[in-house]
């Protein structure tokens, strides 16, 4: 009798034991979403959980093939660390968070066993081991140095192609290359000198140390500020999201009213080829008329179209919403229509006032054969916490980084409260 009871007790124990072994060794489903989907509004079938609430300014984020999460902090946290390494448990929630790297910044990218991270002037790389952990946290290789940082548009975002090149954004330290930046009525500097060393994307080698401007190539110019960029594997091409110009009304009140200023200059997605010029500061893209317009600093009047050999955007999005991350989805967890499409994290606007602010969400732009195809749609909304908080710009969370996990989960980092979200698809 006693033996039988023991046997009965042992059977379920053994079952549980083998199940947990199964969980460790083979593919399991995504973790359960939070009961409230982490406060997000998502399409049917999707759920979200908060992986971690760091309380730090988490800019860009990556997830290694082993599921280790790295987040770049805009400035070092209280312990002086500028990169967080987050290790989630089986439930998807953080088990441990450690830090390294004493510098603030935005850019972070992982490829072929290396983690690339940027300060606002330099780019470093770290070796990743078989567990997805950095082997040289205090001694990274400095691959790029001396990039211009004059505080405005200071982020250096990075991405790699499949040929050993790294692409770095150097944002223009100006709104529209005026003689006096953002000054009412001030005209544009002729032959904008900023473009020599900023306002574009620079290409360097990913494995060469201490490269400066002279070692790299100005891959594309006329880009005011790019924070979100990604390499499209289908088109084998670099795509970037530009932050469009500000303050049309403040600078030229006789040409633009506050509504036009809030709504006209689109945030553009560009598909870049080497040598392309997207036209900043000489033009802006009018997202309502779908036209390249001559900038008022350079003779425009709100009606004249731009002249010059400037590329067309691949897609245009509403003004001032600050696209801070771009990610081409290649996973298989989400339904087929998401595959190879673009997710864009819109940090949220400020330059729409006195009109209501907008953004604070992740948008999906469908793609077909490496090109945008069809209308974009809001995918993950309510990072702000409420429509009122979005309208006033007092958002609880501001999405800033995007990453794809090895199982196809979509990770979103927020640099307002420091939350890292994981969005999963559960419906089969």
């Amino acid at each position: 009798m006693k033996n039988n009871l023991l046997r009965l007790l042992l059977v379920p124990t053994a079952l549980v034991g083998s199940l947990s072994l199964y969980a460790l060794t083979s593919k399991v489903g995504p973790p359960a979403p939070d009961a409230d989907n982490a406060g997000l509004k998502l399409p049917a079938g999707f759920g979200a959980l908060k992986v971690v609430e760091t309380g730090a300014r988490t800019r860009h984020v990556v997830v290694t093939p082993q599921g280790v999460i790295y987040a770049k902090l805009n400035r070092p946290d209280k312990s002086g660390k500028g990169i967080l390494m987050i290790r989630p448990g089986a439930d998807g929630k953080t088990q441990t968070t450690t830090g390294f790297g004493s510098y603030g910044g935005t850019g972070l990218y992982a490829k072929d066993g290396y983690l690339y991270a940027s300060s606002d002037e330099e780019v470093f790389r770290y070796k990743l081991d078989a567990k997805g952990e950095v082997t040289n946290p205090e001694k990274p290789e400095k691959i790029i140095t001396g990039l211009i940082n004059r505080r405005q548009h200071e982020s250096k975002s990075v991405v790699l192609d499949n040929s050993g090149n790294i692409y770095v954004n150097v944002g223009a330290y100006s709104n529209s290359c005026q003689v006096k930046d953002r000054q009412k009525g001030s005209l544009g500097q002729p032959n904008c000198p900023i473009l020599d060393s900023a306002g574009g994307i620079w290409q360097f080698r990913a494995d060469k140390l201490n490269q400066t401007y002279g070692d790299g190539t100005r891959y594309a110019t006329g880009l005011r500020n790019v924070v979100g960029l990604d390499w499209n594997q289908q088109a084998n091409q670099l795509f970037v999201m530009q932050h469009g110009r500000d303050q049309l009304h403040d600078i030229f009140p006789e040409l633009y009213d506050t509504k036009q200023s809030a709504q006209v200059p689109a945030e553009c997605l560009y598909a870049l080829k080497k040598g392309d010029n997207a036209g900043w500061p000489y033009m802006y893209y009018d997202g309502q008329q779908h036209k390249k317009m001559m900038a008022p600093e350079y003779g425009g009047d709100g009606k004249k179209e731009a002249t010059g050999n400037f590329i067309e955007p691949a897609a245009a999005f509403p003004a001032h919403m600050a696209p801070n991350a771009l990610l081409f989805y290649t996973g298989t967890m989400f339904p087929e229509r998401y595959r190879n499409g673009a997710f864009i994290a819109f940090h949220g606007s400020w330059n729409r006032a006195p009109e209501p602010q907008a953004g604070y969400y992740v948008v999906f732009q469908p793609f077909k054969n490496g090109k945008p195809s069809g209308e974009s749609e809001v995918f993950a909304d309510n990072f702000a916490g409420s429509p009122e908080k979005a309208a006033t710009g007092r958002a609880d969370h501001k999405p800033c980084g995007l990453a794809q996990g090895p199982d196809g989960s979509l990770y979103v980092s927020d640099d307002k409260a420091g939350t890292v979200y994981r969005i999963v698809y559960a419906k089969k």
């Binding site: 004059r150 505080r151 403040d250 006032a353 006195p354 006033t392 007092r394 307002k416």
Partner: protein, 145 residues
């Protein structure tokens, strides 16, 4: 419990107003800014400052500084007048970085600058002395040298 809290709050309020009565108000704070000056200041703020510093004066994280109880807004008049006259960039405010560029607003009249700064120093929860057109004029003259 609720009643107790209300009673406590009442006591605190009484205490506060009693001590306020006891203390002679500093001379400079005696006069509340004139309503007309505040109204003019609000107009200037809405047209000139709001697009960056926002309707609630809260600014924008990392870009445009808040105007709520910062040392710049509440502190030295000369410093804040000079910010309006000369613009500001690359300066940390109360330990925070703000990376946008504020241009010069020296095209505003002395009266407009006095009004908008008096408005800002007495809005968004702020309470500080008025700034007069004469003070702005003197600071502008010294600023040019």
């Amino acid at each position: 419990m609720k009643k107790l809290l209300v009673a406590l709050a009442g006591l605190l309020l009484c205490g506060a107003s009693a001590s306020a009565q006891k203390k002679p108000a500093p001379k400079a704070k005696a006069a509340a800014p004139a309503a007309a000056l505040i109204a003019q200041g609000k107009t200037v703020y809405t047209e000139t400052c709001l697009s960056c510093h926002q309707a609630d004066g809260g600014g924008v994280d990392g870009l445009n500084p808040p105007l709520i109880k910062t040392s710049y807004v509440l502190g030295d008049k000369t410093r804040i007048v000079k910010v309006v006259l000369n613009g500001l960039q690359g300066v940390d405010i109360d330990g925070e970085e703000y990376n946008n560029a504020m241009p010069s607003y020296d095209f505003l009249t002395d009266q407009q600058i006095a009004a908008v700064l008096t408005y800002v120093r007495n809005s968004f929860g702020n309470k500080a002395t008025s700034i007069s057109a004469a003070e702005v004029k003197a600071i502008r003259a010294a600023n040019k040298k």
